[in-house]
């Protein structure tokens, strides 16, 4: 497994004391600009990687769903490191990984985003972390029925979907990079035998 740069290391929450199935490996480890095609390639790589890992269908599906929402999120907020900005935020390229860490899967992303996007993210993440499973379902229903789409084509459901699937709090962090961009890092954990939906 590649070492992550210091700037993306976040505290990974301990989810369980169950140590019967201690197992650690990396399923995906990507660094670079995320485009639509990149996500497709990473989906294929993920499917290839889980083949033979004896993962339950439900677990691998949940990881895949979180992975795609997270990568699409990076793609939609890539102004700090796209073709219009040849100097991608002082070298901070998007980073994405999935690893197995004992009895949980840790899905982690880190990418530069525009400062003006931060309040929306921060407020939503703070709110999501206060909700229980029923609260998440209610917020999901409220959002899917509001008929609103962002000017980036987002439905406002991605973060809610990730929180619903995980069932754990989302760990996140913002670190200033320059006058225009900050580094947004996020960690989602999925327990291997999770039944949270």
């Amino acid at each position: 497994m590649n070492d992550w740069p210091e700037y993306v290391k976040l505290r990974i929450p301990a989810v369980s004391d169950n140590t019967n199935h201690l197992e650690r490996y990396t399923l995906l480890d990507h660094s670079g600009i995320i485009r639509y095609e990149t996500i497709g390639e990473l989906i294929h790589t993920f499917k290839h990687q889980v083949h033979g890992k004896e993962l339950q269908t439900g677990t691998s599906k949940k990881i895949l769903l979180v992975m795609i929402e997270m990568l699409e999120n990076i793609m939609k907020h890539s102004e700090c490191c796209n073709g219009n900005n040849p100097e991608p935020s002082n070298g901070y390229l998007p980073v994405f990984s999935i690893r197995k860490d004992d009895n949980q899967f840790v899905i982690q992303s880190s990418n530069p985003i525009k400062k003006q996007s931060i309040p929306v993210f921060k407020n939503k993440l703070e709110y999501l972390n206060t909700l229980d499973p029923q609260g998440l379902k209610d917020f999901y229903k409220e959002t899917i029925t509001n008929g609103e789409f962002t000017n980036r084509g987002g439905a406002g459901l991605g973060l809610i979907e990730m929180a619903k699937i995980s069932g754990n709090k989302i760990v996140y962090d913002f670190k200033p990079i320059d006058d225009h961009c900050e580094l947004f890092s996020m960690v989602i954990t999925i327990e291997e035998t999770s039944v949270n939906l």
């Binding site: 339950q56 439900g58 899917i144 029925t145 439905a155 809610i160």
Partner: protein, 132 residues
């Protein structure tokens, strides 16, 4: 009007919407590159169908059946599918009660849960069909 057909790609679903049979079906994986354009066509088609067939009382005698057979659906697609189903369900005012069949792979609790969440949000019963 003509039926709508769009073949599946790696990440865009196959869409078959027939104004002759009243069968509207989506299958495959749904994360099209331009999700608003993809579902925008389908929503426009449904609105045209409403004007030319439903509103005019010329809908298929077999009624309207919607089959959702998706293996994966990103959150933006889900919101557009909600909007499509909302249009179809509103045809109850013309006397059409659509059948909405939600297919999911057996063991894929997430896809089943997505269907139940949509049904709950639409306040309309779906039929859930497990696939082996």
């Amino acid at each position: 009007m003509l039926p709508f057909y769009s073949g599946a790609t790696d990440f865009a679903p196959k869409a078959t919407f027939s104004n002759q049979t009243g069968l509207f079906e989506l299958s495959g994986m749904s994360r099209p590159e331009n999700v608003s354009s993809f579902y925008g066509f389908l929503i426009d088609w449904l609105k045209e169908f409403e004007q030319e067939c439903v509103h005019a009382g010329k809908w298929p005698s077999s009624g309207i059946t919607v089959n959702i057979k998706l293996t994966y659906c990103n959150s933006a697609s889900t919101k557009y599918i909600f909007q499509m189903l909302e249009i179809i369900i509103a045809w109850r005012k013309y006397g059409i009660v659509p059948a909405i069949n939600w297919y999911y792979d057996e063991g894929d609790d997430k896809m089943l849960d997505d269907g139940q969440d949509l049904s709950d949000a639409l306040e309309f019963e779906f039929k859930y069909v497990p696939l082996n």
